[in-house]
Amino acid sequence: MILNENRIKIALTKGRVEKQVVPLLEEAGINCDQIRNKKRRLIFDSTTQPYEFILAKGPDVTTFLERGAADIGIVGSDILTEHQSTQYELLDLDIGKCQFVLASTEAFDPDEPRRKIIGTKYPNITKRYFDKLGQDVEIIKIEGSVELAPLTGLADAIVDITETGTTIRENNLKIYDYLDKVSTRLVVNRMSLKQHPSEIYNFVDNLSAAIQMNNDREIAQ
C-alpha cells in the first residue's frame, strides 16, 4: 500500500461520531461543507485544504490506518482497544463518552461458581476483563441488540457500552460492574507521522485548541 505524498487522508467514523466531530473540525478552521452536504458520497477532497476525508465504519477506520490507506483516523476508543490498534493515539476528543459495563437480569449472580456465558460485540475486551478477574468464561459474539442475550437465555450476562444506562434499564437489565471508559480518539498512522509531521501536528493542535475552547465554554455555562 502506497501513501499519497501530498495530502493528509483522514478517515472519520460515520454516524454519531461524524455528527459530533464535524462542529469541532469547523471550530478548528476546517471547512466541512462537503461532509454536511454529503448525500451518498463517502470521499471528500478539497482544492482549498490539504485534507481529504473518507467516511467509514469504526472497525474499518482502524483497518485503513493499519494498512496506511489513511493517515489520520477519528474513532471510538472501544474499537481501538477491541481491534488492538498499534497506531499512535494523539488526542482524546472528549466526545462520544460512554463506558463498558457488565449487565444482566436481576437473577444473575456474578459470584456463582460456574463457567458463565457472556454475550458481547467486544470479545477481546470481555476476555481481558474476565482474565483480570481470573475467570474463564464462554464468549458469544453478538452483532447488535446485545441486551437480548440475557433476556432470551442465550447468555448469562453481557459486556456492552452504555452512555446513560437508559437502554439497559429499559430492557429490565441491571449493571453489575463498570469497565473501561470510552471516548472518541484521534489516531495517526505511525509512518505518516514521520512522513508529514508538521501537517499532522498542525491538524492535531488546531483540533486540540477547539476541544479546549469547547470545554471552557461548557464550564462557563
Binding site: 500500500m1 502506497i2 501513501l3 505524498e5 483497518t63 493499519e66 494498512r67 496506511g68 481491534h83 488492538q84 498499534t86 499512535y88 493515539e89 494523539l90 488526542l91 482524546d92 480518539r185 495517526v188 509512518m191 507521522l193 514521520k194 512522513q195 509531521p197 501536528y201
Partner: protein, 385 residues
C-alpha cells in the same frame, strides 16, 4: 472444497512485481558481496525456543510438531537463527554476514496483510567499534542511491535512552513500564495522565515535550538545550551529535532525522538504533542497531553485534509505484526464422517471441499483452510443421 485456493495471507508473485523484486535482491546481493560479506542461509524451520527473545507484537508464528513432539516454527525473523548458528559452531570472530530470505508472521485475519515477506540483512558480529554502526549507515546511503533515487531518510535513536530517563524519574518499575509503553505508542492521553504525577520534577518540561522529540536533528538539539538533562543522558545526546556530524561530512546529501521517543526494533537492542524510510513507503525500509547481548539467549558469553534488516517487499512496492509503463513488442516469425527472430529479440528492448502458429493467434496474443505486433514472416506462414 476447491483445491486451487491459497492459504489466507499468502500470494503468488508474477510479472513485473516478481521481476522487480528479483532485481532488488540481485542489487543487494552484489552490494554485500562487493563489500566482502559472507552469505549465510539458515532453514525456514527452527525450534520454537530459538525465538524466545523475539517480540512478535500483534503477530503469531506458524507452528508445527516434529516426529519427537518438539514444536517447530516457520522463522519470523532472520537474526536469531544466525545467533543460534554462531553459538553452536566455532566460527572465528569477527565476521560480517549477509542474508536474503523469507520470513513468516501471521497477521490479523482478513486485514489485507501478507504473512510471508522477503528480508535481506547483515549481521556484523564481534565488532565493538562504532565503525560497525557507521558501515551500516554507509550501506543505507549507498542502497538508497542504487535502488531508491536517494530518497531514504535515516532516523537515529538510542535503545536505552527512554529507560535511562525513567530510571532517574522513579524507582517504581511498573510505572516506568507504563510510561514507556504510552510514550512508545504515543498514547498521548494516557501518557499525559501518567506524567502528571511528576509536575514538580525538574524533568517535567522535558517529559511534556518528549513525545514530539523527533524530526530534524538541529531542531531537536536546539529544543534539548532548554532542559537541564542529567550527564548520563547528555553523553548519549553527544554521541548522536557525533554520528550526525560524521554523516554530514561523509555523505552530505543524506537526509537524517532523530527520534528520542520511539521503541527499539526489538527488546534485545542495547545501543544506537537506525531506521530508513522514504516519503512514499508504507513502512520502514531499513531497520537495525546494536545488540550486544544477542548471543546471551544461547550461551554464557556475550558478543558485540550490529545488525540491520531490509524489507524487500516495501522497496518493491515503491519501485512498482515509480515504474513507468514500458511498451512491449510481440515478435511473430516462422520456424525457419529463429536466428533472425533471436537477433530482433536481442535488439528491441522489452520484446518477446510469440510462439503462436498463426498470425491471427499471434495478433490476439499481442492484443492481450497490450504489445506492439511485429511480423517477420512477410505473409509466408508456417514453413515447418
Amino acid at each position: 472444497m476447491k483445491n486451487n485456493l491459497l492459504p489466507l495471507g499468502t500470494r503468488d508473485e508474477f510479472g513485473s512485481r516478481a521481476s522487480i523484486k528479483q532485481n532488488i535482491v540481485a542489487v543487494i546481493q552484489r552490494h554485500f558481496e562487493a563489500r566482502g560479506f559472507s552469505r549465510i542461509s539458515t532453514p525456514l524451520l527452527e525450534k520454537e525456543q530459538v525465538f524466545e527473545p523475539y517480540q512478535l507484537g500483534n503477530y503469531q508464528m506458524y507452528r508445527f510438531l516434529d516426529q519427537d513432539g518438539d514444536t517447530l516454527v516457520l522463522r519470523p525473523d532472520l537474526t536469531l537463527p544466525i545467533a543460534r548458528f554462531l553459538s553452536s559452531t566455532n566460527i572465528p570472530l569477527p565476521q560480517k554476514f549477509f542474508y536474503i530470505g523469507d520470513i513468516f508472521r501471521i497477521s490479523r485475519r482478513l486485514s489485507g496483510s501478507y504473512n510471508e515477506s522477503t528480508q535481506a540483512g547483515i549481521e556484523l558480529i564481534g565488532y565493538k567499534s562504532i565503525k560497525a554502526e557507521l558501515e551500516c549507515l554507509m550501506i543505507i546511503n549507498q542502497l538508497s542511491d542504487e535502488l531508491l533515487d536517494s530518497s531514504v531518510e535515516i532516523e537515529l535513536g538510542y535503545a536505552d535512552f527512554a529507560r535511562g530517563i525513567l530510571r532517574l524519574l522513579t524507582d517504581d518499575t511498573q510505572l516506568q513500564e507504563e510510561i514507556l509503553q504510552a510514550l512508545y505508542d504515543k498514547k498521548i492521553p494516557t501518557y499525559e495522565s501518567l506524567i502528571s504525577k511528576f509536575s514538580n520534577n525538574e524533568l517535567f518540561e522535558f517529559l511534556k515535550r518528549w513525545p514530539r522529540l523527533f524530526g530534524k536533528p538541529d531542531v531537536i538539539f536546539e529544543q534539548l538545550t532548554k532542559f537541564d538533562l542529567p550527564v548520563m543522558i547528555q553523553v548519549k545526546i553527544d554521541a548522536l551529535k557525533e554520528i550526525i556530524e560524521w554523516i554530514s561530512q561523509t555523505m552530505p546529501e543524506q537526509k537524517v532525522s532523530l527520534d528520542l521517543s520511539s521503541r527499539a526494533p526489538q527488546k534485545y537492542y542495547t545501543g544506537l538504533t537506525f531506521r530508513g524510510f522514504s516519503k512514499d513507503g508504507a513502512g520502514y525500509l531499513f531497520s537495525g542497531g546494536r545488540y550486544d547481548k544477542l548471543l546471551a539467549n544461547f550461551q554464557d558469553q556475550t558478543e558485540s553485534a550490529i545488525g540491520m534488516g531490509i524489507d524487500i517487499d516495501v522497496i518493491a512496492d515503491l519501485a512498482l509505484q515509480k515504474k513507468t509503463k514500458k511498451t512491449k513488442t510481440m515478435i511473430y516469425f516462422n520456424n525457419s526464422q529463429w536466428n533472425e527472430a533471436e537477433r530482433v529479440l536481442a535488439k528491441i528492448p522489452h520484446s518477446v517471441l510469440s510462439l503462436a502458429d498463426t498470425k491471427k493467434q499471434a495478433q490476439l496474443e499481442a492484443e492481450q499483452a497490450d504489445a506492439k505486433f511485429l511480423d517477420l514472416t512477410g505473409g509466408n506462414e508456417n514453413d515447418i510443421e
